[in-house]
Symmetry: C2
Subunit: 137 residues, 2 copies
Amino acid sequence: MAKDLFHQVVKDALVKDGWNITHDQFPVDYGDVQMQIDLGAERLLAATKDKTIIAVEIKSFVRPSAISEFHTAVGQYLNYRRALRTQEPNRILYLAVPKQTYDEFFRLRFIEEGIEEYQIYLLVYDVEERSIVKWKK
Amino acid sequence: MAKDLFHQVVKDALVKDGWNITHDQFPVDYGDVQMQIDLGAERLLAATKDKTIIAVEIKSFVRPSAISEFHTAVGQYLNYRRALRTQEPNRILYLAVPKQTYDEFFRLRFIEEGIEEYQIYLLVYDVEERSIVKWKK
């Protein structure tokens, strides 16, 4: 339930930001392993006519233990990115996190340093406004 | 339930292998973040009188989705290792996996390459025999 809600929030936020949702589940295949990233989207850059393509792993951080959700998010992100590197290296992977989580939990030194060390790209979204607050590479 | 069972199996296997279990939950503190690694253990090397100290993250891979458990295992391992680097750099972190999982799932190219890329050290245990089958760095 909660998962579907946040999934829809991030979709709405991306659409509002000019993105076209291309995959409601973005499939990643790597030999014998099949995975699904939460969203695939694209946006046309008017100036160059180039397309930017992204995949988005959506986290709500509503679980009682934020650190447990962070462990899982890190593992998924690194594994997805590694698979995308082979399958579609131009597709940029983002981890979507709610603004409140970003403003509080992601300010902890251990989390900040992890995001830096693992080079995780963040997409920060506002749940109420259904909008994107920040892209952070 | 299952978690406790595998925890006990790995403890028994380590004791059989000459290890002294020092922590049933090994606490890791990193600023504002507190975590618990499943086990802490030590073994005296008779020749040098040096102690080897380890922390062990125990996975059973009994969950329906092995790949989901793998994502979580990777995130935990990298975060724990990063915290240990500061707190106790001599303590070597191992991911404990059952022999059957190691022989099957961990043979998949995506998994093998992940273990290699993330430099995850493995401790392979036999659930029936309650023994350690392999240490793999």
